[in-house]
Symmetry: C2
Subunit: 558 residues, 2 copies
């Protein structure tokens, strides 16, 4: 059917505010009449060119301008790229409830406490139990992912059901035994799905993603008969992975110490809520590991991405309080490097080998599987739900393109497949048609230190310039009457060249003197003298060094 515009009643608008055309900071708004509900609100980590930025969160200008319309946040699971934006966004929406499943509520509660956000009630959204918010009704369905209790959300709207998969894979042998809800998805497909929004992270990968259970088998193979300590580094939130470390260690009579702030916190919460089940006597406090013989000890820790401040890197650099890794130790890096982290991971692995440890890592023994669906699973999702329209989400643009191709192969009408970017609404009309709406404001907001949003592109451009060529500060004192230089120019450089006796510095001083001695017509204006010094000096420095430090002239008139 060709998109023909509205016939009667308001349209349903799906507005991606994050995670579409990029990896990270997932967020989607659904608007019908004067009501908006939101699925997820994540963060992203800065790329290499975002100097000094700590985090990136979605630009929610569109929602801020419609504050009173926002009725609820629904959470698919408690990974940072789905909930990490909440602490920065919630203050704009006091009183708006957050709906999440049990484990997500547990992990979120901690986050709310840390950020002192108590104005938003956290309410239950459990699989199969519909929650009605205005014209919307949200029902979670259980789905496989690298954290327990992950859900997709079926959002019933006046114009039909939208299926939002969240992050997912179809794991036929999940560690916690809780299967993805194949039957629920099949039923939705039978009843009719207006639109499927599906995870594209691994849309480039043919075949199936292996079961999480295969990782446990790899752990056992590696630990079997090993005489020394085993250190397993993985993601702090991957509770199923940590359970498998526990199980493998128990198989070989090893006790386990969990080390690393976020992992200790997550395992505590997960164990309290019944999502993690360490056999009695298995756990050993980190300050007691010296009492355990090497061949009876297993350490689970953070830092599988090589993060310099996390457990593994510090153990490898021998500056960790409780553990130094050395000869006789075996390390399992249970992760693949996330794009951008390759150098960190490589450095950490090299340091471990240099310390004499043996290391199993992604290219040598894949003690890791992805939490995201590969092509055959994506096809299964499409064929189970049989959507009329399809919006691939959660992925860089090229992944969305590949996912869109899969949908077309399976018979979704090419005109009903929307390969879009953040801020591009899709509007669904009562006559069953859909079309692209006018783009809304969207993008990224930088978090740097305590501030959110005050860093813009100009600040980043300046940081880039300073990073590349440093700065060159010159202070000159001139006689107000005569315009003559008094004393010598004072020069301070950082990130340029170190030596004050460098010929370049001497040449620069000559050049500054020339600027002052040949002042042109406008000597009276110190702003013009500044500009003259800056231009002359910049040109001189570029000619001599092929570098462009930021030049700051300070002219003092006495």
């Amino acid at each position: 059917m060709i998109a023909t515009g509205p016939t009667e009643g308001p349209p349903l608008r799906i507005i991606p505010l994050g995670g579409v055309g990029e990896i990270g900071k997932n967020m989607t708004a659904f608007e019908y009449g004067d009501e908006i509900v939101v699925i997820d609100c994540g963060l992203a980590f800065p790329d290499a060119e975002m100097f000094g930025i700590d985090l990136v969160v979605p630009d929610v200008t569109y929602l801020r301008e419609r504050k009173e319309m926002v009725k609820a946040f629904f959470i698919t699971h408690a990974h940072e790229d789905h909930v990490g934006g909440l602490p920065y966004v919630l203050p704009v929406f006091p009183g708006v409830p957050i709906y999440a499943s049990t484990l997500a509520r547990g992990l979120l509660g901690n986050k709310i406490k840390e950020h002192k956000l108590h104005n938003n009630p956290i309410l239950a959204l459990e699989p199969g139990q519909p929650v009605k918010v205005g014209a919307f009704e949200a029902t979670g369905f259980r789905i496989g992912h690298s954290i327990p209790d992950a859900m997709g959300i079926a959002l019933r709207t006046p114009l039909g059901v939208v299926i939002h998969t969240g992050d997912f894979k179809f794991d036929h042998t999940p560690v916690d035994g809780k299967l993805s809800e194949f039957h629920t998805l099949a039923q939705y497909g039978k009843d009719g799905v207006l639109c499927l929004m599906s995870d594209s992270t691994r849309a480039e990968n043919p075949g199936y993603t292996p079961s999480e259970r295969t990782v446990g088998e790899a752990f056992r193979d590696i630990m079997d008969g090993l005489p020394g300590r085993v250190i397993v580094a993985t993601f702090a939130s991957n509770i199923a992975r940590i359970q498998q470390v526990f199980d493998a260690a128990a198989t070989f009579g090893r006790r386990v110490a969990v080390i690393g702030r976020s992992m200790e916190q997550n395992t505590r919460i997960a164990a309290e809520l019944g999502y993690l089940d360490p056999p009695p006597g298995l756990l050993v406090p980190k300050d007691r590991i010296k009492d355990v013989p090497d061949n009876e000890l297993c350490i689970a820790t953070t830092g599988a991405q090589g993060e310099p401040m996390a457990g593994l890197a510090r153990m490898a650099n021998r500056d960790h309080r409780f553990v130094e890794i050395g000869p006789g130790d075996t390390v399992i890096v249970s992760a693949s490097p996330i794009p951008g982290n390759e150098e960190y991971v490589a450095r950490t692995i090299d340091n471990l080998f240099k310390n004499g440890a043996n290391v199993f890592y992604h290219t040598i023994r894949r003690a890791h599987v992805s939490g995201h669906a590969s092509q055959e699973e994506l096809k299964l999702m499409l064929n189970l739900t049989k959507p009329k329209h399809f919006i691939p989400i959660h992925g860089e643009f090229r992944m969305l393109v590949q996912h869109g191709r899969l949908a077309a192969e399976l018979g979704v009408a090419p005109g009903n497949i929307f390969i879009i970017e953040n801020g591009q609404p899709i509007e669904f009309f009562p006559n069953g048609s859909a079309r692209r709406g006018a783009a809304v404001e969207s993008g990224m907001v930088y978090v740097d230190g305590l501030s959110v949003g005050d860093i813009g592109d100009i600040v980043l451009r300046d940081r880039r310039a300073l990073a590349n060529d440093g700065m060159f500060l010159v202070v000159v004192t001139v006689d107000k009457q005569s315009g003559n230089l008094i004393g010598q120019p004072e020069i301070i450089t950082r990130g340029f060249v170190a030596a004050p006796d460098d010929p370049v510095i001497q040449g620069a001083i000559q050049r500054i003197k020339q600027s002052i001695e040949n002042p042109g017509d406008h000597i009276a204006e110190s702003a013009l003298l500044k500009a003259q010094i800056k231009d002359g000096l910049s040109q001189y420095l570029y000619e001599r060094t092929r570098r462009r430090p930021m030049v700051f002239p300070v002219v003092v008139e006495v």
Copy 2:
């Protein structure tokens, strides 16, 4: 045999100065008595933390201090990571000859011209033709790699033959028909090899690296029946790859335009020397491509690593003089992203898709193979040459470890396998033993603009600080007699916050005034006042923002 130290005569010392424990800037020195010869002298590209650095070259302090001992540079092939350091190193060694094969001499000649280096003769080192330099005799042997005329070098020394593979793979169906010299290697093995130094780049990869010829098959599959233009991006130096673009294009009646400075230059030199053979009438000048119908045009260009200034990225961004890529175009990215370049490559591919082009890239259709040997080829090299000692080279530390394990599996005595880093000499003695010598000075020298080596770790540390949090410059004028502030402090920030009316700036001004009004005991000393302003301000800014900009106080006394 256990290493027992010298018995009679001088030792042979093998001294890795680059490429051992890292990827890039390959360089090895061989020292016997008072003579040194060097194999290769490459460059590396800076990692993400080397702000503003253009290139990295080996630290040759050890050679500089023994200038008169250095007799020759032998070149395995003309890739930048093997010859790119020459322009920065040669000025230290005027008159010392460079030996290289025909194509390498052609490409080097250009480099010498560009850098105005005419003090070093470039002489022939052709496969199978020994060159005697003092106590050494070097013989090149042909080996497969991603540039024609690549060689390994058999270095005959008074203590035995050392085989240095250079970069290599064993390609049984090379595009130019010139096989690796299996028989020569077998003969060396039969006669006895003192030490093998072998390429570890792909030591983590099981099996065999596919033949370069498979890439030509992929090109043909993609081009078959295609209605629009084809743009193939690859490495400018991969002459065999470019030949395959020519051949595939010719198969389907397409003409080829080569676009990109380095690729145009390399193809011209390679064609002149007979290493590239475009069928008559195939080539079309870049300013004439508008005259060729889309389905009869193929463009070969640079930028397969997503480099922002190279051909492909500019065509994708629509700011290329001759080509804008859009709907109907098909792009083949014939490369895998080198670690560190993933983000660039991803961005370029996304831009191409957004422009409406179809793109074949590393995860979708592997129109690329590595030029480096996988494990089964590395084993073949070890078994052909049967070395007594083994030094894995060209690779990060973990790759050297894996390569060392392969050698041990094949029967090289574990005590004769040296997993080392740059600057760690291995000494071979007349009694057949070998051991680690005392480490020599080595490492990296930064090239930034016109300067080589004046950028050190302090400059980089400052650049990192400026990149992360920017700078904060404050100029205050005080009365020399009273110490009172005159006028208002002037504040200039870059990379910090932009708005001069920001409350943080107002607070900072108050803090500066406090520092001046409560000067402590040492008012007379403007250096102390500066320190006081700096400390107070830094503390204030950190408390308010959790950022640490570099603070520069300028105190003017009048």
